[in-house]
């Protein structure tokens, strides 16, 4: 696999610049199509840019964590983990418990995270075990696991709570004393009852001021890296040096553009400058991004990658393949549980039997729109995908209404896109795999 990539790179270097551009376009065709779709959608919807941007900031901070939870199973070659739904259920179990005990605000949120952890580990372990029995069909299995777990979840919270599991709470439970209500308010009117905005409200700053500070820091970091490379004597690193310098300069100029843009917006006194950024939530997301990037550099991360590339070689190399795969799912499930907590503390209402259902699909669609595939996903793709996906979400009903005179068409189109993009990327992946397999057989 690595050799093939090297060969590809060599070929790419030899071909001319035009070919290269074509390659880049073809490799990112999904993302490009969605950028165009989003731009058309924004134009058609006629929504004020302030509204779209504000909504987008909220939605990105709300959903990114869940999308990022998908990356490690992809790394481990298990495809897109539809069973993050199960993780979301673990998060909701914790929320129901904590709301029942009446612990609110940040302590409640942290307690939720602690309680969700063992549940998520257990669920992830079981899912992982099952996925080891269905190698090659992980995605459909994880999807059905989600449906199956949903049935068990309903059974527990509709019928066992109050009968087998002792619980008494007039607010949370149905009037008969058995089962949890359909919706649980996490904020409550005058008196706080839940964990709404527990994380978001800690610190809120205008986003463009944050961006200015961030881009200045980033530029300084890049300058530091660039100047600090002088003393390298290692021959191999010297070869990479010019390439690296180029990378740093590109990064720097991009941040410079961001900086100028932010300054223009702040100085221009547009309404955009009032958009608030939930700083702590974004920091938590940033930490997860770093975790996903750094784990690749550890031994465990390398084992994930080896298993992902070739299970047989991994086995020969002495890696316990099944254990690594279970671990990947456990990590993903735990992250999904926490991601669901972040999601719900922003939404403010727990839809007991519905909040988790769509999580897997929406997160996966977002990741794929960002340009990821079944076998490769990066942090950048996750964030970009979330942004594009939610832009489409915000604008499509109004765009549909303005274009066809019916908001429903926009909504159906949106759903079609969600399912379609998953179907198409899965199809393309399977098709590429087959083509490669055929080529290999021919060579042999």
């Amino acid at each position: 696999m690595a050799n093939v990539n090297k060969l590809k790179n060599k070929i790419n270097n030899n071909t001319n610049f035009g070919e290269k551009i074509k390659d880049v376009v073809m490799n990112n065709i999904v993302t490009i199509i969605f950028v165009v779709l989003c731009l058309i959608g924004i134009k058609l919807s006629g929504l004020p840019i302030f509204f779209v941007a504000n909504e987008l900031v909220t939605r990105i901070s709300r959903n990114s964590f869940l999308v990022l939870a998908l990356i490690i199973p992809v790394l481990a070659g298990m495809g897109l983990n539809f069973s993050i739904v199960v993780g979301a259920m673990a998060g909701q179990i914790a929320i129901i418990a904590v709301t029942h005990w009446g612990i609110t605000g940040l302590p409640g949120f942290l307690l939720c995270a602690v309680i969700a952890f063992p549940f998520a580990v257990l669920f992830g372990y079981l899912t992982g075990k099952l996925l080891n029995k269905t190698k090659g069909q992980e995605m459909i299995t994880s999807m059905i696991v989600g449906y199956f777990a949903n049935g068990v979840y309903q059974l527990v919270f509709l019928f066992l709570v109050g009968t087998i599991i002792p619980m008494k709470n007039n607010v949370l439970m149905l009037s008969s004393g058995v089962g949890i209500r359909n919706t649980i308010d996490l904020s409550g009117g005058v008196k706080e009852t839940g964990i709404k905005y527990a994380l978001d409200q800690i610190l809120k700053l205008p986003i463009f001021y944050v961006l200015i500070a961030f881009s200045i820091l980033a530029i300084l970091y890049n300058i530091f890296k660039l100047t600090n490379r002088r003393g390298i004597v290692n021959r191999r690193e010297k070869q990479n040096k010019s390439k690296d310098s180029f990378k740093y300069i590109v990064n720097m100029s991009m941040f410079a553009i961001l900086l100028i843009l932010s300054i223009v917006i702040v100085a221009g006194n547009t309404p955009l400058k009032n958009i608030q950024l939930p700083v702590v939530t974004v920091i938590v997301i940033g930490v997860l991004c770093l975790f996903n990037i750094l784990i690749v550099k550890t031994k465990l991360g390398q084992e994930f990658r080896t298993v992902g590339q070739d299970k047989h070689i991994a086995k020969v190399a002495g890696i316990n393949v099944d254990r690594i795969r279970v671990l990947a799912i456990v990590i993903s499930t735990v992250l999904a549980a926490w991601g669901q907590l972040i999601f719900l503390q922003n939404i403010g209402t727990l839809n007991t039997y519905g909040s988790h259902e769509q999580i897997g699909m929406f997160s996966i669609a977002a990741l794929l729109i960002g340009g990821a595939s079944v076998s490769k996903a990066t942090v950048g793709q996750a964030i970009l995908g979330t942004a594009l996906f939610h832009t489409l979400f915000i604008v499509s009903p109004l765009a549909g209404k303005n274009l066809f005179g019916d908001a429903q068409i926009g909504e159906f189109f949106r759903a079609f896109v969600v399912y379609g993009v998953i179907g198409v990327s899965l199809g393309l992946h399977a098709w590429k795999n087959r083509a490669e397999l055929k080529r290999k057989l021919k060579i042999e």
Binding site: L130, K133, T134, K135, G136, Q137, M139, I140, T141, M143, I144, V145, Y147, F148, N150, G151, V152, Q154, L155, L158, F159, L174, S176, V178, G179, K311, F404, G405, D406, Q408, I409, F412, F413, A415, F416, Y419, G420, I422, G423, L426, G427, H429, A430, W431, N433, R434
Partner: protein
């Protein structure tokens, strides 16, 4: 004796044994709770006929090697389209019913053919791709239901655009099959037995056709292509073509299946209704004893009886034990998806 029981247990698998025992215990409970057994029996009979053809649609797909047809919504949508056109043509009764079937078949053949080509490109991940193809087509057609130029006032919204979400077939061909040769017998000690003979006969005729087809030359080729593709190639059978034939057959049966279903249900359900239609059908055939690679017509009959019987009887039993909520819905999800998961663990290959 002991050994043969163990063999039978192994052959059935734990989930199936649990489901069968569960079914039996629910039947016993229904009797003890004093539920009207005659009504339940009648309902089970109707639901076997209603859902049977949709389950039958799984057989050619599984046998041709594409796995359980999770893309059943494609066929269902063709069937719905046929029904709508039949109503638009202002047909009623049997002509309406058969016109719906005849109109939907060409659509289903074309859709199934294209879908078969797609499935040939993605060998090894058919189930996942099929699921998402089905899902996305349901939403694409949701747009279609809004913008299609149907005129019949029974079908379109009086104000606004598009077709209604549910369309009544009461004036058209609701229950034409159910009422055909309908037997009404009062059996002492049991109650009133109503047998929807026409519906069941129609289902069994289709079963027989599929059964006969599988014994014909092309049916054998289809089975060989699915069972052992390498051997099939060696014997000069075109595997890809046979997979397409299996998919087309499955799609056509799906189209007929939904028409049978709607005539018995009395309403056409559009928009998101066909979204999850494949899962109960897949679960039913798996409960009947099929796997992702092997299926018989007998599995269809046994499976649809067990699964639909379970669902029909569990509902009143559950609600007489617990008044609140809909426990049978949760049970349906667990049984349905549990059996699919079990079948997935038995899929060979992958590594």
């Amino acid at each position: 004796m002991d050994r043969s029981i163990r063999e039978l247990m192994n052959h059935l698998g734990l989930p199936r044994i649990i489901i069968i025992l569960f079914f039996i215990s629910i039947c016993i409970m229904a009797v003890f709770l004093g539920l009207p057994t005659d009504m339940l029996t009648n309902q089970v009979l109707v639901r076997i006929g209603m859902n049977g053809v949709l389950v039958l649609a799984m057989v050619p797909a599984i046998l041709s090697g594409t796995g359980p047809n999770f893309g059943l919504p494609l066929g269902v949508i063709c069937g719905l389209l046929g029904t709508l056109i039949s109503i638009e043509m202002n047909l009623t009764g049997f002509p309406g019913f058969f016109a719906a079937i005849i109109i939907s078949i060409p659509f289903a053949v074309i859709v199934g053919w294209v879908y078969g080509l797609l499935l040939n490109k993605v060998k090894g991940s058919e189930m996942m791709i099929a699921t998402y193809t089905g899902f996305s087509v349901v939403f694409l057609m949701s747009i279609g239901w809004i913008i299609m130029p149907f005129k019949s006032p029974e079908m379109v919204w009086p104000i606004g655009k598009g077709l209604r979400v549910t369309i009544s077939l009461g004036e058209r061909f609701a229950e034409v099959l159910n009422k055909l040769w309908h037997i009404d017998a009062i059996i002492p000690g049991f109650g009133e037995l109503k047998i929807p003979t026409g519906l069941l006969v129609f289902f069994f005729i289709l079963c027989t056709i599929v059964w006969l087809f599988l014994r014909s030359k092309s049916g054998l080729a289809l089975k060989t292509a699915g069972d052992n593709p390498k051997f099939a190639i060696a014997s000069g059978i075109n595997v890809d073509n046979n997979r397409i034939i299996g998919t087309v057959l499955s799609t056509v049966l799906g189209a007929i299946g939904i028409i049978v279903y709607t005539q018995s249900y009395g309403f056409i359900q559009l928009y998101q209704a066909p979204l999850m239609v494949a899962f109960p059908a897949v679960a039913a055939i798996l409960i009947g004893g099929a796997s992702a690679q092997k299926a018989h017509v007998s599995h269809v009959i046994l499976g649809v009886f067990l699964f639909q019987g379970l669902l029909t009887i569990a509902l009143p039993v559950a609600s007489s034990i617990m008044s609140e909520g809909n426990i049978s819905e949760a049970l349906r999800m667990i049984v349905q998806n549990g059996i699919i998961l079990y079948a997935l663990t038995k899929v060979i290959g992958g590594e």
